[in-house]
Symmetry: C2
Subunit: 268 residues, 2 copies
């Protein structure tokens, strides 16, 4: 198998309302089955997910976490408002309202003007579907679309590109039942294809001032599917790491409560 991966050149600074599909179609001659990968930052910008840091009032919880993380309480409040659960207080690892688990709810302050923050798209799977449909309309080509973010990992330093939304491509390639070279059934067998594609795209897109937030992967045979990335988010009951983190944070909270109670008693 041979694939190529390339960035789209001369992508302008994205503003609210920009037509990302058209920006691609004007710059690249797409082929059927191309995978078009967008950094979530530009999808967020096009969708107007930019907010003024000043426009929020931090709660006591946000102030406490802000001290711990040496962060602006207003920034932390945005993180909490886009999260369903805090899993680690510092660094601030949360389960987001979008379903993915990441540091600071994926809120970006780099590549954004001072004083503003950029939230992840409300529904990245939907955003991917819309861009894909629009690409079909503009070019006549049937492609897949992936929206990426960069995430840290357990056990390993550094961040890699991961998918937060996708359309027209199966996030997981379930190979249970396939056989190996010796005819034995495979055991570990669910390949997270869109995350591998996202990592590959992130490798060439860069994070800093390259300004290359769109990449095309060409020549890769993938399974077509419209269930989006959400199928690859572990559920609460099967996620042992999340359970361990939740237990740890509960234990610490009850310890803090006990200490506070002791302090009150001793001071009373």
């Amino acid at each position: 198998m041979k694939i190529s991966a390339f960035t789209v050149d001369d992508v302008p600074m994205i503003q609210k309302g920009d037509d990302l599909a058209k920006i691609v179609a004007d710059r690249v001659t797409l082929e059927n089955e191309d995978i078009v990968v967008f950094a979530s930052t530009i999808v967020s910008k096009a969708e107007g997910r930019r907010f003024l840091l000043e426009d929020i009032e931090p709660t006591a919880e946000a102030r406490e976490l802000a001290v711990l993380n040496k962060e602006d309480p207003k920034f932390i409040q945005y993180v909490l408002d886009t999260s369903t659960r805090v899993l680690i207080k510092h660094p601030l690892l949360v389960q987001t309202v979008f379903g993915n688990v990441c540091i600071n709810a994926g809120i970006d302050r780099s590549n954004t003007e001072s004083g503003y923050i950029l939230l992840l798209p409300l529904d990245s799977d939907r955003s991917a579907r819309e861009i894909r449909d629009r690409l079909k309309e503009l070019t006549g080509k049937t492609v897949a679309v992936i929206i990426t973010d960069t995430n840290g990992r357990s056990f390993r330093e550094g961040q890699i590109g991961v998918a937060v939304g996708c359309a027209g491509i199966a996030a997981l390639h379930d190979r249970r039942g396939d056989v190996d070279l010796f005819g034995h059934e495979l055991k570990i067998t669910i390949q997270a294809i869109t995350d591998e594609v996202a990592a590959c795209a992130n490798m060439i897109m860069g994070e800093a001032d390259e300004g290359t937030p769109i990449a095309i992967i060409r020549g890769y045979k993938y399974i077509k599917d419209d269930r989006g990335i959400k199928v690859s988010y572990r559920s609460d009951d099967t996620d042992l790491v999340r359970q361990a983190l939740a237990e740890k944070i509960e234990k610490e909270a009850s310890k803090t409560a006990t200490e506070k109670a002791k302090k009150i008693r001793s001071e009373g």
Copy 2:
């Protein structure tokens, strides 16, 4: 930026003692700065890391974990023998003697004859360096080498390719101090390049009967460095997820011990 990624065709079944560098050099005209990626299974085979399942005596701990995981106690014993710590009992997530954290210590039974198991290379960074040196000797080209395994992830279903060894390429690209499009300093900025390359390679190598365990990534600009992959393994004291898992497992062990003691007292 444009890169290409392709698998090496007609790789024979690898046997102990095979010269992997020569297998590549005979099939591909390498270029300087190519990244040559090998699935750890074939490196293990070439290094004779295949063992007979029968050749080990399971301990009580292995038998207990085997019941929990519906596994052969002998297989579990090999996992324990290549691990420094159990982090989750089922699925059996361990910290390996090699430094990486993964299910079943990365021991492979697929793509191996029945009755045999395949351990990860003893020192995958060293293996990568040796293959790289040999490629230089055979072709005159200076390349990078990455050895991959496939790993599951916290919070997300499915496995992706990760690096377990590398040579001639910096595992982590530390971009702290770089600026974004608006001239602000980047915040989250350590890119795990070799893991992204590994994911990209794994995407095209496949896991089952494709028999394409070697891939070349061409055209990618990377930082040259010889510190190997080990720099990207989190240390115990900075790894909050590992700490939470270790606490959970200790808590369960002490609970079990208490229950056993109760049972002994009530039966006594």
